[in-house]
């Protein structure tokens, strides 16, 4: 039933009724599958892509490379957990790069706020040996969606 997943991945606003129509299935069956995906942790959540630059909310994001000393027996997981528990950290990845180990995406109101997080919270963690902060100047595309573009149907209405 990964057809449901593919549909929801592209558009989380699809209702079970709509999905049922598209796949010629019973609504109940779709609801059951989605429930199961949620329970099994296959579907972890539903979010909205927002272009904050179009609002008056102050917003800045940064990608931070982190070099860490892995801990005996625990590898990177323990330190990763320590980092991802901060709500400011929106994404965290273990990387295969030689230069650093973890990459995280952080969001804040201002650059100062982000810098504060790095200096006061991230860098002092015991196993963190180095960090490099890259501020995002402009988001062009995220999760397959192009930012700044508007959906206007400009197709000519010909009698075709």
């Amino acid at each position: 039933m990964d057809k449901i997943l593919k549909l929801l991945e592209d558009d989380a606003t699809l209702t079970p009724e709509q999905i049922a129509l598209m796949l010629s299935k019973e609504v109940g069956e779709i609801k059951k599958s989605i429930d199961k995906y949620e329970k099994d942790g296959v579907i972890l959540g539903y979010k909205t892509l927002i272009d904050w630059d179009k609002t008056d909310r102050e917003y800045v994001s940064a990608i931070i490379e982190v070099k860490v000393m892995p801990q005996r027996d625990k590898g990177f997981d323990h330190i990763a957990e320590k980092i991802y528990n901060y709500p400011e950290v929106k994404s965290l990845y273990l990387m295969s790069s030689g230069g650093f180990d973890l990459a995280l995406i952080i969001e804040g109101k201002t650059m100062r706020e982000v810098a504060y997080f790095v200096a006061q919270k991230l860098a002092p963690i015991e196993s963190v040996t180095a960090t490099a902060t890259h501020f995002v100047l402009r988001k062009y595309k995220d999760k397959g969606v192009i930012y700044g573009a508007c959906e206007i149907d400009e197709r000519g209405n010909l009698i075709i």
Binding site: L7, D11, T13, L14, Q18, L21, M22, L23, S24, D153, R155, G156, N157, L158, I159, I160
Partner: protein
């Protein structure tokens, strides 16, 4: 004083402007309308295809190509026809690159028809065939395809439409507006009738890649048919390339050589940058087709089930991206139904009569829209239909 009536061709002046021009004029001036009228893909041409055209411009490839089209493109079309439909056409002299499928149709009809000839046209169908025939002085003989026959033409209907004057049969399948297709078996029955005649077939296969479930079969692949068939097709629907205006003809060389002359003097050659884009589409675009077809198919099932749920009888379309519901039970003419839906519920669908009188009692809905958009439209149609039922 200038007398335009005397100045202009009588044949052209006598061609009726489309009966639903008014409907489209109203539509274009209204805001906040949920429209399901557009007859073109909502996808943007895949980036690698656009890039090929951009690259050709950057490199200054802004010349005319040969009349028939770039050799490489014709070779790719030849391979494509073999790969997708098991048809063999020589890239040297059996393929002509045209300005859209539209020019392909025009050139084909001009090469075959003379004043007084008869051309058999299944209706409802795309709007261009009849005016072209009229301009050539040919007589159009309709076959009214019927809901109970799934909008296919039957062997009996074909037989009874043929007269000694019949020169051409137009086969617009997968069909716009009905979404009907003809299967290999059904085509075989038609082929039996045509085989011993001298009738040419113009098979408009612009929607050939957009069939759901069954693969499209070209009548040219059947015994005794290749030598009489002109395939008109193009890139608009399969690769979401409507604005590029690029199509092609595949036919026996005896026919192509004559069509070549018309194309040569009327058009010269198809736009060069579009030809570069099309070459890339054929080389690396099979996956794009699959992706778009899968998406159309989801929407097709969505709109079909959705319409049926709200009590509108619908034949299941098997091709193109249209659905053609039967709205006769609501007691309004097609135009009334569509105009009221537009004025009262701000939702636009095309009256079946846009595609000829045989479209009375039906409407065409395009599902080349997002599911969200289709969903909103369905809600409006449901409200409208409920209001009609309440009054009845």
């Amino acid at each position: 004083m200038i007398d335009y009536e005397k100045m202009l061709s009588k044949t052209v002046c006598d061609i009726k402007p489309s009966g639903i021009r008014k409907f489209f004029d109203i539509l274009s001036e209204m805001d906040d309308v949920i429209s399901l009228t557009v007859g073109q893909p909502d996808f943007i041409t895949p980036w690698h295809i656009r890039e090929a055209a951009i690259e050709s411009l950057e490199k200054g490839k802004t010349y005319y190509t040969s009349n028939a089209g770039m050799t490489e493109l014709r070779e790719e079309i030849s391979k494509y026809m073999k790969r997708r439909f098991d048809l063999s056409y020589s890239s040297r002299d059996e393929i002509l690159v045209t300005v859209g499928g539209s020019e392909a149709i025009d050139v084909a009809m001009r090469a075959i028809l003379e004043p007084g000839d008869e051309v058999i046209l299944p209706v409802p169908s795309f709007v261009c065939y009849e005016p072209i025939a009229t301009m050539l002085g040919a007589k159009v003989v309709h076959i009214n395809t019927k809901l109970e026959n799934k909008f296919k033409i039957t062997p009996e209907e074909l037989k009874s439409a043929i007269t000694p004057k019949t020169k051409l049969l137009i086969l617009p399948f997968p069909n716009n507006p009905t979404g009907a297709i003809l299967t290999g078996e059904e085509l075989k029955e038609l082929a039996k009738i045509l085989r011993d005649t001298n009738i040419a077939v113009l098979s408009d296969e612009i929607y050939a890649e957009l069939t759901y479930g069954k693969r499209h079969v070209s009548i040219a692949s059947l015994e005794g048919m290749r030598e009489r068939t002109i395939i008109a097709s193009g890139f608009s629907k399969a690769y979401a390339m409507t604005g590029w205006r690029l199509g092609y003809i595949c036919a026996p060389r005896e026919l192509v050589s004559q069509m070549h002359k018309i194309h040569q003097y009327a058009i010269m050659c198809a736009p060069t940058m579009s030809q570069f884009a099309a070459t890339e589409a054929l080389k690396n675009g099979d996956e794009d087709i699959e992706m778009m077809r899968a998406e159309y198919n989801r929407r097709r099932v969505f709109i079909l089930e959705g319409l049926r749920k709200i009590g509108i009888e619908c034949f299941e379309p098997e091709g193109a991206f249209y659905i053609y519901p039967n709205i006769a039970p609501f007691g309004l003419s097609s135009e009334e139904f569509c105009e009221r839906l537009l004025y009262e519920y701000r939702c636009a669908i095309v009256p079946g009569t846009a595609f000829g009188e045989s479209g009375e009692g039906f409407a065409r809905i395009s599902y080349a829209y997002s599911v969200k958009h289709l969903s909103q439209a369905l809600e409006k149609i449901e409200e409208f239909v409920k209001s009609l039922k309440n009054k009845a």
